[in-house]
């Protein structure tokens, strides 16, 4: 079965090619939507079959590499010759990612059939979405850095194309450009890291690199540089401080895209990459520390911005940034399994939140301001209930999925020798903020009075949209049961499943199993209590006593403004980097260097070429005798050179 993995990857590619080449001639949305969804759905079915088969295997047999063909190889004979195959590595981690990507991807494809109904770029949309799944699967299934990088760049391209999907509007184009440029910074880091790896290990295959790395000692300087560079890549793709700025703007794309790419899958690529390279990071404690700090800071920083935003998708975007911070926090304290667990549950509830917001926007005819909503509960019952479940899950209330994964991260942050109490405190505070802004969102959108005009007649979304919502809601509720910790009498199945992947990293770090401490219960109760309190406070303020919000806003106007303006980071970057760059490009590089020097040289040499061409042409007279003369001249020159010299 495992050897069928290329099919999982190839199907979305086939979907992309068919839709991309012939989609414009397909009249029927049903055909396009079914085709686009089916390719991903079948991929998911095949991946599930592989997963079931792996469950029955001995853990050491679960990792297999399926080699397809040599992609690039240099010709020469030297030992350091470079050869990269297209090969897929199926193991506990990659199959889990494959299931998330294809499973959530399939649901979002189905949802999109309803959401994108009537759009003139319907076929283009599904073609891009299929291409995205293909690229993402390459990213997670690759057995070497280069193919992973191909997937990495591929998802970046798809993200760009889909953010700017409605390219007639200027701001979508700007947002797409911003995402692309900011991602380039990260990608450049990844690329440098990859080159350094090749320089150091002479290979880009995971097995070879990780194998040679595992004999190195902890703290080898080159590993610190490698991991830092790789982490720069992760920071870009997974929207961490300071490169998170593209993600909120990326909400300009269609909402299902935000759900799939900018919440559930692509932005978690950085987390996946760090987990995949866990052994490298384990050997670089300094980097781990930086990862943890960046993750923790991002978690609380983005959550605080989320407190005051009024655009429904912006709130969710900052929430995504914040939750990704938690995942990196987990990575940084060497709780790789916990991070991946949170990645999975987050994929469920955040995709659900975005799809729910999509249903709201759909119902409100493109209105996104939650201050102009309210009382939607009775018009959109399915959306409301599923949205509410997701909000509870993300807030970390047991026994919903988010509770188990977030609590595991909090506990590891507290108890791991690589964690700290300060980071734990930051994370708990972040969790409280999360619960607060989520219920602010729920209350303002669905509860309270109707604040929209009479011309709006909100209506529930069609079945293709509500069914994915319900499936994701079920997953958000029960998805955490695979990771119930021993302290709650669970087996933490998911971390056991992932153990072999992180075994060598854990061995390096000297991390053992999960012991039960009394303090764990205290901390658990504390974090749940804080989250519940935050929910209560939020509901009180936004459902019953609106004036409190106004009073707070007025009393702490300065603080409020800082949050409202997102800490002025965008403005700061504009002033410090963008404007000077534009200015220098325009006056110096463009009008000075480009026009003056480059164009001068280019036009000059072009003129020279034209003159030369005209001159040489005149030798071509059409007279055969003359050709023979040149011929003989050539012979004489050669003989002169070779014999008489």
């Amino acid at each position: 079965m495992i050897s069928l993995i290329p099919i999982v990857v190839a199907l979305p590619l086939a979907g992309f090619l068919i839709l991309g080449l012939f989609g414009s001639r397909m009249r029927s949305e049903t055909v396009i939507g079914t085709l686009g969804s089916a390719t991903v759905g079948i991929s998911f079915a095949v991946a599930s079959a592989i997963f079931v088969e792996m469950l029955g295997m001995d853990p050491i047999d679960r990792k297999q590499i399926v080699q397809l063909f040599t992609w690039i190889s240099t010709t020469t004979d030297t030992p350091s010759s470079f050869s990269v195959p297209v090969a897929y590595q199926v193991d506990q981690l990659s199959i889990l990612m494959t299931l998330i990507v294809t499973g959530v991807g399939f649901l979002i494809h189905v949802y999109s059939i309803g959401y994108m109904h009537g759009d003139k770029g319907f076929w283009r949309y599904f073609a891009y979405l299929n291409l995205f799944i293909f690229a993402m699967l390459n990213l997670v299934l690759s057995d070497n850095f280069l193919l992973m990088f191909l997937g990495w760049e591929g998802v970046g391209l798809c993200s760009y194309l889909l953010i700017g999907f409605w390219y007639e509007k200027k701001f979508t184009g700007d947002a797409a450009k911003k995402a692309f440029v900011v991602n380039r910074i990260g990608d450049f880091g990844f690329l440098l890291g990859m080159l350094l790896i090749f320089d150091r290990f002479g290979s880009l295959s995971f097995d070879t690199v990780f194998g040679s790395a595992s004999v190195l000692s902890v703290g080898t300087p080159v590993l610190m540089w490698i991991t830092l560079l790789l982490f720069v890549g992760a920071v870009g793709k997974s929207a961490q401080i300071p490169l998170y700025i593209w993600l909120p703007d990326a909400m300009a794309g269609p909402t299902p895209v935000s759900a799939l790419i900018h919440a559930a899958t692509m932005v978690t690529a950085g987390v996946y990459m760090v987990a995949r390279c866990s052994i490298l990071f384990a050997l670089a404690p300094t980097t781990l520390e930086i990862v943890a700090i960046i993750g923790g800071l991002t978690a609380i920083f983005a959550a605080s911005i989320g407190l005051v935003q009024n655009d429904i998708k912006k709130v969710l975007a900052y929430s995504t940034v914040s939750q990704l911070g938690y995942m990196f926090l987990a990575m940084g304290v060497a709780a790789f399994g916990a991070g991946i667990f949170h990645l999975m549950t987050h994929a469920f509830f955040k995709a659900l939140l975005f799809l729910g917001s999509g249903a709201v926007i759909h119902a409100m005819h493109a209105e996104q301001d939650i201050q102009k909503m309210g009382g939607l509960k009775k018009y959109l019952p399915v959306t409301y209930w599923t949205f509410l479940l997701a909000a509870i899950a993300i807030s970390g209330i047991p026994p919903f999925s988010g509770f188990f994964s977030k609590d595991e991260i909090l506990w590891k942050t507290f108890s791991s020798p690589y964690g700290s109490v300060v980071l734990w405190g930051v994370a708990v505070l972040g969790a409280a903020l999360t619960a607060f802004y989520m219920f602010r969102l729920v209350s303002l959108t669905f509860g309270g009075d109707e604040r929209f005009g009479k011309h709006h007649h909100p209506h529930e979304a069609p079945k293709t949209m509500t069914i994915p919502l319900m499936v994701l809601a079920a997953l958000s509720v029960i998805g955490g049961f695979v990771g119930i910790p021993p302290s709650l009498l669970g087996g933490n199945a998911i971390e056991h499943w992932l153990d072999p992947v992180f075994a060598s990293a854990n061995a390096k770090l000297g991390l053992g199993g999960h012991e039960i401490h009394a303090i764990e219960y205290v901390l658990m109760a504390l974090s749940v209590g804080i989250a519940a309190a935050a929910i209560y406070a939020s509901r009180t303020v936004y459902l019953k006593r609106h004036e409190i919000a106004e009073q707070l806003k007025n009393r702490y106007a300065r603080f409020y403004n800082v949050l409202w303006n997102k800490y002025y980071v965008d403005e700061g970057i504009d002033k410090a980097i963008v404007n000077p760059t534009v200015l220098a490009s325009e006056s110096l590089l463009w009008k000075g260097f480009d026009v003056g020097i480059i164009d001068g040289v280019v036009n000059g040499s072009a003129k020279l070429m034209a003159v030369a061409a005209g001159w040489i042409r005149r030798m071509q007279t059409g007279v055969v005798q003359q050709y023979a003369v040149f011929f003989v001249g050539g012979i004489i020159a050669i003989i002169f050179w070779l014999v008489l010299n």
Binding site: I72, Y627, F630, G634, N645
Partner: protein, 475 residues
């Protein structure tokens, strides 16, 4: 030495098959005159069977006929090129010949015999066989160039090609004689064995110079290229396609067999001469192509330039150069068959519609063909992800490794120049309004051939390892 004629026949069976196909075509022609359609089918079947045989014979090196020829990976690699070129040319030719009103069966006969000559060059282990192959190929092509008997330019092309070709043949034969005079043999293997003692003797060197000149003429390298633009322009377009691909590949098959596999001149003045010829070809070919208005002429100068690029690999004389030449030839051949194929579709029955301006707005009328043409132009310009890029990459890499960095730099600079005239066509097709009077009625066979060529260009550009692996086996 005992001769096993059956084994020899088996080892040379692909050539035998092609020659037999030619003979059958002769019979067909004498029994049923003017049966172009039958000859078309016979020639395709014959070439395809030769393709089956080349696979069946296997790739273990086997000498045959007293070491006159040798079957092996080298012969196999080039034969595949020739057969693919031949089949694509024939598939494209039928419709073209019909449109031009010159669909006569001897066309196929001549193409098939020319291919047998090319194959001899790939199999040759003896200078006499090289001579035989070159003559067999060339004589067929002299006739093919003048195949359009009613058109003056075609006759002029044939005559010019013949006169200068005969001139070059003289040098080839004289060179072989001089080498025989100084070494006492014409067998390439034996020359290679005793190479060290002869390599510096003046008589041998003069012989080498003459061979070099003759081969340089066949591949149209500067300054022996002057025939190419006139002949390419005058000959029927599909003949030009065949000339610029098959003949060039065959010329290089002989060039490489003699100058890389037999003579060990790497790093000596001989390779400096090759480098000089390569440099001159790249410069003159590319610069002159800039000033052309006729696309056949443009492609003629471009073919001079590409001969220069391939010669870079020959001048480098190392393993990478060898690899580069093989890769480059594959890339160049498929692209040129496709590009000329499109030219032959657009050309009208008066031999017009061959200039740049005729392609203005082509993308609006024939979007698919315009897209394919763009792919071919991008590949010729050496832009990834098309096959042409890797061809250039490998030959330039070889030059760098052979300490001829100046040659690689020159190659890159002249490629830059070439972008102008290749992409000019793309710009015209996509960004200019056309008069809209280009009537294209392609046959299915033609569309299939062009599409297949484009497919290969992309396939080899994205997965170069397919060709690289095959080429590494040859080395």
């Amino acid at each position: 030495m005992e001769n096993n004629y059956l084994a020899d026949l088996w080892n040379s069976s692909p050539i035998v098959c092609v020659v037999l196909t030619g003979l059958v075509l002769l019979l067909v022609e004498s029994v049923r005159r003017g049966s172009g359609r039958l000859s078309y089918a016979v020639s395709l079947v014959g070439l395809a069977s030769a393709g089956v045989l080349i696979v069946a014979v296997g790739d273990v090196a086997q000498p045959a006929f007293n070491n006159m020829i040798v079957q092996g990976p080298y012969a196999q690699f080039f034969t595949v090129i020739f057969l693919v070129t031949g089949i694509l040319t024939i598939l494209l030719s039928r419709g073209y010949l019909d449109r031009q009103g010159i669909h006569r069966s001897e066309y196929y006969l001549l193409v098939v015999f020319a291919i047998s000559g090319m194959m001899l060059l790939a199999y040759a282990m003896d200078l006499i066989v090289v001579f035989l192959g070159i003559e067999l190929m060339s004589i067929c092509l002299y006739i093919l160039a003048g195949f359009m008997r009613t058109r003056g330019t075609s006759m002029e092309a044939a005559l010019k090609y013949f006169l200068l070709g005969a001139f070059a043949t003289g040098f080839l034969l004289y060179g072989i004689a001089l080498i025989y005079g100084s070494t006492g043999t014409t067998n390439l293997e034996q020359i290679a064995k005793s190479f060290a003692e002869h390599s510096a003797s003046p008589m041998f060197l003069v012989g080498v110079s003459f061979l070099l000149v003759a081969f340089a003429f066949k591949v149209a390298a500067v300054p022996f290229h002057m025939w190419a633009p006139d002949v390419y322009e005058g000959a029927p377009t599909m003949v030009t396609a065949f000339m610029s691909t098959g003949v060039k590949a065959a010329g290089f098959a002989a060039f490489v067999a003699v100058f890389m596999r037999s003579f060990q001149y790497a790093g000596s003045p001989v390779n400096d001469v090759l480098a000089a010829i390569a440099a001159a070809s790249m410069i003159i070919g590319n610069v002159t192509a800039l000033a052309q208005v006729n696309l056949k002429r443009m492609l003629a100068y471009s073919s001079v330039a590409h001969a220069g690029y391939i010669l870079v690999g020959l001048a480098a004389g190392n393993a990478d150069g060898f690899m580069g030449i093989l890769f480059y030839l594959v890339a160049y051949v498929v692209v040129n068959v496709g590009a000329f194929g499109i030219l032959s579709l657009v050309e009208d029955s008066n031999g017009q519609k061959l200039s740049y301006d005729d392609y203005a707005g082509f993308s609006a009328q024939r979007p698919f063909l315009a897209a394919l043409m763009s792919i071919f132009m991008f590949s010729l310009a050496g832009i990834p992800p098309f096959a042409g890029f890797f061809g250039k990459y490998y030959v330039f890499l070889a030059a760098v490794k052979a300490d001829m960095i100046w040659l690689a730099v020159l190659g890159v600079l002249t490629s830059l120049v070439s972008v102008y005239y290749y992409l000019r066509l793309v710009i015209l097709m996509y960004f200019r309004e056309g008069s809209g009077d280009v009537a294209v009625r392609p046959t299915w066979a033609a569309m299939l051939s062009i599409g297949f060529a484009a497919y290969l260009v992309i396939q080899f550009g994205i997965f170069p390892s397919i060709v690289v692996d095959a080429a590494l086996k040859v080395f």
